[in-house]
């Protein structure tokens, strides 16, 4: 009983506290509002309003406000003018009905003045919620004339945007007549809540996060009189906001440096002299997509490899053939530093050398021979690949060469791939005489494997420019579908790159009137030559073979000798040639390891290199003497991990004899081994403790 009495007492006290808080809150708000209020007494107004009530207001009425069965209450603003400065407050309050209730309540409790509520009643049109209170009955309705005199502009009406013209669906717009409001969507709607009207008048984004109020959820409170949770001080603003906000900023773009009379340094454009003024030379570049949309200057000592697509008219070679002859490449020398004029007598001028290369050799450009020409379907002597080579020696560019790799192109497709290389070499030697190693000393990724066919002095042979032996390991590659094995960079076996290449091998000799086995053997030997298996090959274990002894060069291990003998026979019916055991796949397996003593640097050394060949039976016809070959490359890192490995813990296999629980069959109940042990342990312990 005591507990119940206590609980009842607590509830009562909470209730009283709520009521008192309500009262005090309203009072404080009243005081605040007093300043902004002008003119007529609100108490008076409120009493005028109250006159229309036929019965005393009661809180219970407000519980049924949402009842749909209303009379068509036509609330119209009175002809009396009221100040309306409380719309903002309305927006915050939950439902207008509760506000009304409070005001009525307050009045009954002999509250003094209340400008707030009356204002809210008149500024909003949502009063039709209060049907049963019948603020305004039918008689009252007739008093109001259809034409409302112009009222002052409602300053708090967010949707009143048209000056002196009624805004559509804006219920608080004083420019709107009652007839206009009648046809609007929401002004008449009896079921609309006040907050929705608020949203209508203050159009914000439709996207709101749900704010959970714990107190609201717990007690289902219609209205709280807690202070507003608004940290934002409306009167103040942050003066520094401009400084710490992001803004549209000026567009800063990189600018190329202007010509300065000083010797070249890294990253500076390469200058040319044209018509007495200084320009930089540039190359096309794919700035934003894969088309050569932009141009960028050739930077001194900056090697480039640019690939982009172009249309025929935008090919770089046409520009090159036009301009460079009359625009020599210049270098600032000591002599030119002292003189004021800029011409070839003071600067060091280097004329351009243009050479044309095909797959085999390079020759000087001859206009009559190498002039590009096009028909409707194809073009000849077009250079899709070009190379600028600058030889810098003795503080000046001594040679500037443009290599055009010419080829014939069919015009089936509108775009073509253009490749431009820029190379700087700090020597007066020709680029062909410069030997490149693949790392120092360990191999670097993407560098060609150094190989030699020489029987002795392999390292010396490698560095000997005139040596006839090969320098790099070559494998066939796919050129327009056909296997080629030319000694070009495209065909080198690159360190660390795992690849699978497919290409078609075509046998060109005639096969008629010959022995099938002979032809197949001939095919086999030409394949071995293509794969480079006819010579004994050695590979350098390091990327720099300078100090590698002959005995340290790795000989390539092949399983060629394990292969079954090749033979062939004609299938006489349709004169097909069937070759047995022909090499169709070659696989390079290269094992390397990091032999560096320090952890921060890798030093890749090739440990072993194996070539495995796979043979299969191939059927050839006189019309199609070809087969598809596969060339695989695998690089395997054999480096042992640096982390210390600990031996695993001893594995103790303890189990009871099978007949330990003889009377109970061991497979009768399926229990896991772990739970079995656990049960056993528990049993033993229990017995012991007992």
């Amino acid at each position: 009983m005591k507990v119940i009495a206590y609980l009842a007492f607590t509830l009562l006290s909470i209730l009283i506290q709520f009521c008192v808080m309500d009262l005090t809150q309203e009072k404080t708000e009243l005081d605040d509002e007093q300043v902004a209020f002008n003119g007529t007494s609100h108490k008076k107004k409120f009493h005028e309003l109250m006159k229309d009530f036929t019965q005393k207001p009661h809180a219970l009425y407000y519980q049924t406000l949402m009842n749909n069965n209303h009379r068509d209450l036509d609330f119209r603003p009175s002809t009396k003018t009221f100040t309306n400065n409380s719309l903002q407050r309305l927006e915050i309050s939950t439902i207008i009905s509760s506000t009304i209730f409070d005001e009525l309540y307050d009045d009954n409790m002999s509250t003094t003045e209340d400008p707030f509520t009356t204002e809210s009643l008149y500024t909003s049109t949502e009063i039709d919620n209060v049907t049963e209170i019948s603020f305004f009955d039918k008689n009252n309705k007739t008093v109001i004339k259809p034409k409302v005199p112009k009222k002052p502009r409602n300053k708090d009406c967010g949707c009143d945007l048209l000056y002196n013209v009624c805004d559509i669906n804006c219920c608080c717009d004083n420019d709107c007549s009652e007839t206009e409001k009648d046809i609007f969507a929401n002004c008449k709607d009896a079921h609309k809540k006040m907050d929705e009207i608020g949203n209508l008048c203050y159009p914000y984004e439709h996207f709101f996060y749900q704010e959970n109020n714990f107190v609201d959820n717990l007690f289902c409170i219609i209205k709280t009189n807690l202070p507003e949770k608004r940290g934002k001080d409306l009167k103040k603003y942050d003066i520094d906001a401009v400084a710490h906000s992001h803004k549209w900023h000026s567009e800063v773009k990189s600018k190329h440096t202007e010509f300065q009379k000083k010797p070249y340094v890294y990253g500076e454009p390469v200058w040319v002299l044209k018509d007495g003024s200084i320009w930089y030379i540039d190359t096309p570049s794919p700035t934003i997509n894969n088309y050569c949309t932009g141009r960028k200057p050739i930077m001194f000592l900056k090697n480039e490899n640019i690939k982009c697509i172009v249309k025929l008219k935008d090919l770089e070679m046409f520009k090159i053939l036009k301009t460079p002859q009359e625009a020599p490449c210049i270098s600032v020398t000591e002599k030119s530093l002292n003189s004021t004029t800029l011409n070839c007598s003071t600067l060091h001028c280097t004329n351009w050398t243009i050479i044309v290369c095909d797959e085999i050799k390079c020759v000087d450009y001859n206009k009559s021979l190498h002039e590009p020409s096009c028909t409707e379907t194809s073009c000849t002597n077009l250079a899709l690949k070009l190379e600028y080579v600058f030889y810098y020696y003795d503080s000046k560019i001594i040679n500037a060469t443009i290599k055009l790799f010419s080829q014939n192109i069919s015009l089936d497709v509108p775009f073509m791939n253009q490749e431009i290389n820029v190379r700087f070499i700090l020597t007066n030697e020709s680029i062909e005489k410069v030997i490149e190693v693949s790392g120092n000393p360990g191999y670097l990724y993407g560098r060609p494997l150094i190989a030699s066919t020489a029987e002795s002095n392999r390292s010396l042979n490698f560095f000997n420019v005139t040596s006839p032996h090969i320098r790099y390991l070559v494998q066939p590659s796919n050129k327009e579908g056909i296997c080629t094995s030319l000694i070009t960079e495209n065909n080198f076996v690159m360190f660390g790159l795992n690849k699978r290449i497919k290409c078609r091998y075509v046998y060109h000799k005639s096969i008629h009137f010959q022995n099938g086995t002979n032809i197949c053997n001939d095919i086999e030997s030409s394949l071995e030559e293509l794969f480079g298996l006819n010579n004994k090959l050695y590979v350098s274990p390091y990327g720099n073979p300078l100090d590698v002894k002959d005995s340290d060069w790795l000989s390539i291990q092949t399983n060629l000798y394990e292969k079954d003998i090749t033979y062939g026979q004609f299938v006489t019916k349709n004169s097909k040639l069937r070759c047995y055991n022909v090499i169709t796949r070659i696989s390079y397996i290269i094992t390397f390891a990091d032999v560096s003593k320090v952890t921060i640097k890798r030093e890749n050394k090739i440990v072993s290199i194996n070539i495995n060949v796979s043979a299969r039976n191939v059927t050839l016809t006189p019309e199609d003497m070809s087969t598809v070959l596969t060339i695989d490359t695998n690089f395997i890192d054999g480096t042992k991990p640096r982390v210390y490995e600990y031996a695993g813990g001893p594995h103790i296999n303890i189990h009871l004899p099978k007949d330990f629980f003889f009377p109970f069959p061991s497979n009768g109940i399926h229990v896991t081994k772990q739970s079995y042990n656990l049960i056993m342990l528990c049993c033993v312990m229990y017995l012991q403790i007992k």
Binding site: E205, F207, F208, Y209, E211, K232, S245, H246, K247, W248, H249, E251, V252, K253, S254, K255, H256, S285, P286, T287, I288, N289, N290, Y291, T293, G294, R295, K296, E304, I306, C308, I309, V310, K311, D314, F415, M685, Q688, I689
Partner: protein
């Protein structure tokens, strides 16, 4: 009138022995086992040490007013590039007049100082006789985590879309999400500013292609923001202009981080302690059995008996 048990207490019976004795050895072993065994059991049953932890936070995301919009037309020689990047050459901008308008709005709906949504509206003029084939939008964002793992970085919102037929508009609704390839280091009271540099403001040009360079550099970051498209819609029709509307929400994000040592211990301690209690009870029962039954030599000190 019955009697109720109101309180009880134990009488302590002590067992004493000298240092070098079997009883001492037994006690030592059981004590060590009592400490070590719970640790082993807790460790072997996995999850003893907290390797990773995560929490949710809505980051502060603001548009830095850096952007790059690339609209590719059916002719690759006529792309439309809007926006700016420090590494772009002056001459590289062609067709910039086609970037008619970019409108940016940031919304904070719940007034907590953190933007809840970003809205980008872009209007592009399509060159005559051309159609837009794809668009790539890079918007620079400032990303800030403020609570557990403070982080300031400049990230990107990358939106990529290719069109099969000529578009007249594109709308996308999506979320900006945090993508981590590694845990945040989460050093207390230290703001992680490893990536607090703008990729669009990077001046050292490495690659030829600006867009590829930005994307590659961004790809190599450990912490990035991504745009997770919720809905997108393209409007067909070959028109002379194209409207792109991007609505991005900023939801709460999961942030993975490496827990500090204290947090690790806090996590491990209850696991260990709960097992210690069990083992303590077991070993106590064993000891009680051993000493009560005088299996090991020890003096029994009973308080009410005089020795």
């Amino acid at each position: 009138m019955g009697l109720y048990k109101l309180f009880s207490c134990n009488v302590e019976i002590q067992y004493k022995s000298c240092f070098l004795s079997k009883a001492m050895l037994f006690t030592l072993i059981t004590t060590i086992l009592n400490i070590v065994l719970p640790f082993i059991v807790a460790y072997r049953s996995k999850g003893f040490w907290l390797r990773t932890h995560n929490y949710y936070e809505q980051p502060v995301i603001r548009f830095t007013y850096e952007y790059l919009v690339l609209a590719e037309t059916d002719d690759p020689s006529q792309p439309i590039l809007c926006g700016e990047a420090a590494i772009l050459d002056e001459e590289a901008h062609n067709g910039e007049e086609n970037c008619a308008q970019l409108q940016v709005q940031e919304y904070d709906y719940n007034d907590d100082g953190k933007h809840d949504a970003l809205y980008f509206k872009l209007n592009i003029n399509v060159p005559s006789h051309r159609t837009i084939s794809s668009i790539l939008l890079l918007f620079g964002l400032e990303f800030q985590l403020k609570s557990t793992c403070p982080l300031h970085m400049q990230s990107l919102a990358v939106i990529d879309k290719a069109f099969n037929v000529a578009p007249s508009g594109f709308k996308m609704y999506g979320d900006v999400v945090l993508y981590q390839v590694a845990h945040l280091p989460c050093v207390p009271n230290v703001i992680d500013t490893k990536y607090n540099n703008s990729l669009l403001n990077y001046r050292n040009k490495i690659g030829d292609n600006v867009v590829d360079f930005i994307l590659e550099s961004y790809f190599h970051r450990e912490v990035t923001t991504q745009v997770n498209p919720v809905y997108s819609r393209n409007q067909n029709g070959h028109t002379s202009s194209m409207d792109i509307n991007i609505h991005l929400r900023v939801p709460e994000m999961v942030i993975r981080y490496r827990p500090s040592i204290l947090q690790e211990l806090k996590w491990a301690w209850p696991q260990y302690l709960s097992l210690v209690v069990v083992f303590y009870w077991i070993f106590n029962r064993i000891k009680k059995f051993v000493f009560n039954n005088r299996l090991l030599m020890a003096w029994e000190v009973i308080p009410w008996k005089k020795h």
